[in-house]
């Protein structure tokens, strides 16, 4: 893995450019003084202040010295001073931060506050101050910049250290009794080394510029020594007559700084990249930040012969760039229609394409994903033919989305009032007081007590369940005809989950809002939804009325999924049914039925040909060998244990026994 990461870093174009520039700079720094020093020091008053010429590519300075030679000859000084400053800064900052992280809470707070105060002053101001105290000169400059950088390094080390020290894997190591030294060596350092390295690389660029600035101001390197900053300063006096002088030195500083930054950026990128895999978590995280704003009322629906639907997706596919320039397709030809006022549940394991389907419905698939869809209708309007501005309004009003983690969708720095009322004020042109009343109404609808007082609170002052209800309230303030909720209760307690399910049900009953509820938990969908859609490997494999599908699943995957859920009636003596193997990865999708590698009923046809989704009565099914209605007791494909089919634990009062 380490080598893969390294390859990712080295292979990035930014890295190549950065490395090439730095290599040149280093070579120049090494040979510079020897090769160009004489030329750089040779004064020739007769040739002072000349512009660009064949003998002086960047002209000459006041004393007639060749500027290019001076820039090249001072590369070593400039670079070494910058590195010295960074080393000094990290030598002071990192240990300080690390120690602060290890102190007991009170000491930690104290040091943390000190660092915070130090950080509040702009670095260059601190440096100027230190410089005037210590005295001008190269040594003073390095000391000043180094000290000015130290608080930043300290804060970083402290934050990273605290994060790693608080992680579960460190807790696990402590439970095992791993000693402090080993803990630091094997757990803490390897996990903070990369970000620290990146920061140091980037900081080199800052130090270079800051030192140049000091020298330019006459506080850094003193004559007769010189560095890029001095050359720049001297050149600036003649900027109008011989601009090349100043520009040359400036370019050297900027290019080298850029090289450090490029290198840091691509290191950061490389360390992050997980070899192009489409991580569902990452996608969800991206998706969450894209919550549509409330907008103006929707455009009137286009006259159409067909009955209005809340949502229609025809042949929806989502693509992402895969490893080695390929395309992966995590959603593959999904057809989904949600009638007006209908509540539909989408169930499936993580990675089955549920969230991407929802994001695509709302046009929120994050970059670099691409969506291909035959037809996308929301509230009866064909979204494909819509002007982007119209579309934005539609998404703001007719469609609301709620995501799993309300904390990431609410702005933690803003009081609720702002978050709830601002868009209303902007888009609906109502007064602040009116907007506030609307917000209170919406919160009260979500059974949030003391709504008026809550408006002045910050999101972190509320419990998870309350935040989730606030998210739903926000989504509903534009009276949407469709609410898409992606795992809205997954992180919540059953009590809060039950409240939210009841609220969604009431919402549907009172306002006719259609709901698409995405969950990996069939029982949550059973509590709320009329219809249930089962997804596997980016495709819909079965859909139908919830009660019927649960009572008699006909796709082997649906049956296996239902059998795996322990309920309050499950026999305690039997092992739970589990599904062997793993869901297919979008990068290695089987050619035929996606479930074939885990399905005991799979045959050659299954492995070669994709079963199409075919209507069968109230049901749609994508399976070459579906379990039939009369298949009582038949063990479905793919179940790990023959005991699964036993009637022992699976009978559910009020319904038929779940066929497994």
């Amino acid at each position: 893995m380490a080598s893969r990461r390294l390859r990712a870093i080295v292979g990035a174009p930014g890295t190549v450019v950065g490395l090439v520039i730095l290599a040149i700079v280093v070579v120049v720094a090494i040979i510079g003084p020897a090769v160009w020093q004489d030329r750089a020091m040779t004064m020739n008053v007769m040739e002072a202040r000349q512009g660009i010429s064949a003998s002086h590519w960047l002209g000459t300075d006041v004393l007639g010295r060749d500027v290019l030679a001076r820039i090249l000859a001072s590369t070593r000084t400039s670079l070494l001073l910058a590195l010295a400053a960074v080393l000094l800064g990290s030598a002071i900052g990192f240990p300080l931060g690390a120690v602060a992280g290890l102190l007991p809470p009170r000491g930690r707070r104290l040091v943390g506050r000190g660092i915070g105060i130090a950080l509040a002053f702009p670095g260059i101001v601190t440096a100027l101050f230190i410089c005037t105290v210590i005295g001008i000169g190269a040594f003073g400059g390095v000391l000043a910049i180094g000290l000015a950088m130290a608080p930043g390094f300290a804060r970083l080390a402290q934050t990273l250290g605290t994060a790693v020290a608080g992680s579960d894997y460190v807790a696990a190591a402590r439970v095992l009794g791993v000693r402090r030294g080993a803990l630091l060596r094997r757990y803490v350092l390897p996990n903070i080394a990369e970000p620290l390295l990146i920061t140091v690389t980037m900081a080199a660029s800052d130090a270079l510029i800051a030192l140049a600035a000091l020298s330019y101001l006459g506080l850094g390197v003193q004559p007769p020594s010189y560095d890029w900053g001095r050359v720049l300063g001297e050149g600036l006096q003649d900027i109008y007559t011989t601009p090349a002088v100043a520009l040359g030195a400036g370019a050297a500083i900027v290019l080298t700084g850029l090289a450090f930054n490029l290198l840091g950026e691509s290191m950061a990128h490389g360390f992050d990249s997980r070899a192009g895999s489409v991580s569902a978590r990452a996608l969800r995280r991206m998706g969450r930040s894209l919550l549509p704003g409330r907008g103006l009322p929707a455009a009137p629906p286009e006259p159409d012969g067909e009955p209005r639907v809340a949502l229609r997706l025809e042949d929806l596919s989502v693509y992402f760039p895969g490893p080695d320039g390929t395309l992966v397709q995590p959603v593959r030809g999904v057809n989904l229609t949600v009638g007006e006022g209908e509540m539909v549940g989408i169930v499936g394991e993580s990675g089955s394409g549920k969230s991407l389907t929802a994001l695509a419905a709302a046009g929120l698939v994050p970059y670099p994903g691409q969506v291909r869809v035959q037809r996308r209708e929301i509230a009866g309007s064909d979204v494909a033919t819509m002007h982007p501005e119209q579309l934005r309004k539609l998404l703001g009003t007719d469609l609301a989305m709620v995501f799993q983690d309300p904390m990431t969708s609410l702005n933690p720095a803003l009081r609720l009032r702002r978050q709830l009322t601002e868009k209303l004020e902007v888009h609906e042109g109502i007064t602040r007081a009116e907007a506030t009343e609307r917000a209170i109404l919406a919160l009260t609808d979500m059974r949030i007590t003391a709504a008026r007082r809550r408006l002045d609170q910050f999101p972190h002052e509320m419990s998870g369940g309350m935040r989730q209800r606030i998210m739903i309230a926000m989504g509903l303030m534009g009276s949407p005809s469709l609410l898409i909720a992606d795992e809205p209760t997954t992180a919540l307690d059953v009590t809060v989950q039950a409240q939210i399910i009841d609220l969604l049900r009431a919402l549907n009953a009172e306002h006719g809002t259609a709901v698409v509820l995405i969950s990996h938990d069939v029982s949550v969908i059973n509590e709320l939804c009329h219809r249930m859609v089962v997804m596997y490997g980016g495709r819909i494999v079965e859909q139908g009325p919830t009660a019927e599908v649960i009572a008699a699943p006909r796709h082997p995957y649906t049956a296996a999924l239902l059998a795996a859920v322990p309920t309050l009636q499950t026999g305690r003596e039997e092992p739970l049914a589990s599904i062997p193997g793993q869901p297919p990865s979008p990068t290695a999708m089987p050619a035929g039925c996606p479930f074939a590698p885990r399905c005991a009923a799979a045959d050659a046809t299954c492995r070669q040909e994709m079963p199409p989704l075919i209507p069968d009565g109230q049901r749609d099914l994508a399976c070459w060998h579906p379990l039939s209605e009369s298949d009582e007791g038949r063990a479905p494909g793919g179940l790990a244990s023959p005991r699964v089919g036993s009637p022992a634990g699976r009978s559910i009062p009020g319904t038929r026994r779940v066929r497994t």
């Binding site: 059953v494 049900r505 322990p566 499950t570 092992p575």
Partner: protein, 343 residues
């Protein structure tokens, strides 16, 4: 797992067992406080529990009620612990008692999120080897063999011990974490929401695996979960926790005939595959501020049969209900149903 090595370990276990009284893990009047002074939070406030060897105790309750804090207190990750923690009859509340009892070898923990409980910079082999090196006294070659056995035990044999955690799925990572916990051959394993970050099908295989392991090794399990179906399926006894206190402790009948109104509310709220219950009465309000719990019965601000609905039940406001004790009294309520009520 080869016959010889498991037999040897069984012997070793036997030796160790003879040193204690077989009572497993016992918590007596456990108290954990976060912070001090005016802002002190009594996250666990007088809890009695027992997890006999070979059995599973499920600890259920809403998030923030103190379940994880109990786990942390047991393994020594919580500050300022009061009361007593006993392991096989030996007091392991203090660090001194812990080292005398070889506590770290005998009690292990599995965490909720397998994405964060494994060091991303250590291979599977290194992770297991570390645990073995610390506690088994095996040499390098034997440790290697034992690590392979452990991976076999969690059905992960031949899946690349030289890989890093990022290369495994969530379920596989949780298996690795289980293998790590089992490396020291513990007598007690604390499993804190170990399946709630996993898909149902993966959850099923992890629960099956834990059961198999328990049948094979006789390890006692403290299972912390907010999923009542999982708790019921997996455990021999269940303790229900509310705001730092145990409110009810019982066997399977707790699920069919709950005696505390809170247990009943939790059961009512659990989603199920049975027909919808649209008539369910949701629990009023949110969890009260744990810094300032209600006087008397802590559940009274939400209790459907307490002073909210019965004005004459002022005793709920004035007096704390009795403390649940795993051996004797099983419900902390002034008005438990006369007959255990059916659901």
């Amino acid at each position: 797992m080869t016959n010889t090595s498991s037999a040897e370990r069984a012997d070793a276990r036997h030796d160790r067992q003879s040193a204690d009284d077989g009572s497993g893990l016992v918590l007596a009047d456990l108290r954990v406080t976060y912070g001090a002074g005016a802002t002190a939070l009594r996250a666990v406030d007088g809890v009695d529990l027992s997890v006999p060897r070979g059995s599973t105790l499920a600890l259920v309750g809403e998030s923030g009620c103190g379940k994880s804090t109990i786990a942390k207190a047991i393994v020594g990750l919580a500050p300022s612990v009061g009361g007593q923690i006993l392991l096989g009859g030996m007091d392991v509340t203090t660090e001194r008692g812990r080292s005398a009892a070889h506590f770290r070898r005998r009690v292990q923990m599995i965490f909720q999120d397998p994405y964060s409980s494994l060091n991303p910079r250590m291979t599977v082999a290194a992770t297991l080897d570390e645990a073995l090196a610390l506690h088994t006294g095996l040499n390098r070659v034997d440790r290697r063999a034992r690590a392979a056995e452990l991976l076999d035990l969690v059905a992960m044999s031949g899946t690349g011990a030289d890989k890093y955690p990022a290369e495994f799925s969530g379920g596989q990572r949780q298996r690795i974490a289980i293998a790590r916990a089992l490396a020291t051959d513990p007598e007690v394993v604390i499993a804190d929401e170990i399946t709630s970050a996993l898909d149902v099908s993966v959850q099923a295989s992890i629960l099956n695996l834990m059961r198999e392991i328990q049948a094979r090794t006789g390890v006692a399990v403290l299972l912390i979960t907010h999923n009542l179906a999982v708790a019921r399926y997996f455990s021999h006894r269940t303790a229900v926790m509310y705001l730092g206190r145990i409110v009810e402790n019982g066997d399977e009948s707790l699920y069919t005939a709950p005696r505390h109104p809170y247990t009943r509310a939790l059961l009512d709220a659990s989603p199920s595959l049975a027909a919808h219950r649209e008539d369910r009465v949701p629990l009023a309000g949110d969890l009260p501020d744990p810094h300032d719990p209600p006087s008397g019965c802590r559940f009274r601000s939400r209790c459907p049969v307490g002073p909210l609905t019965h004005q004459d039940r002022t005793v709920c406001i004035d007096r704390e209900p009795p403390v649940v004790d795993p051996a004797g009294l099983a419900v902390a309520c002034h008005f438990p149903p006369e007959q255990p009520a059916g659901r």
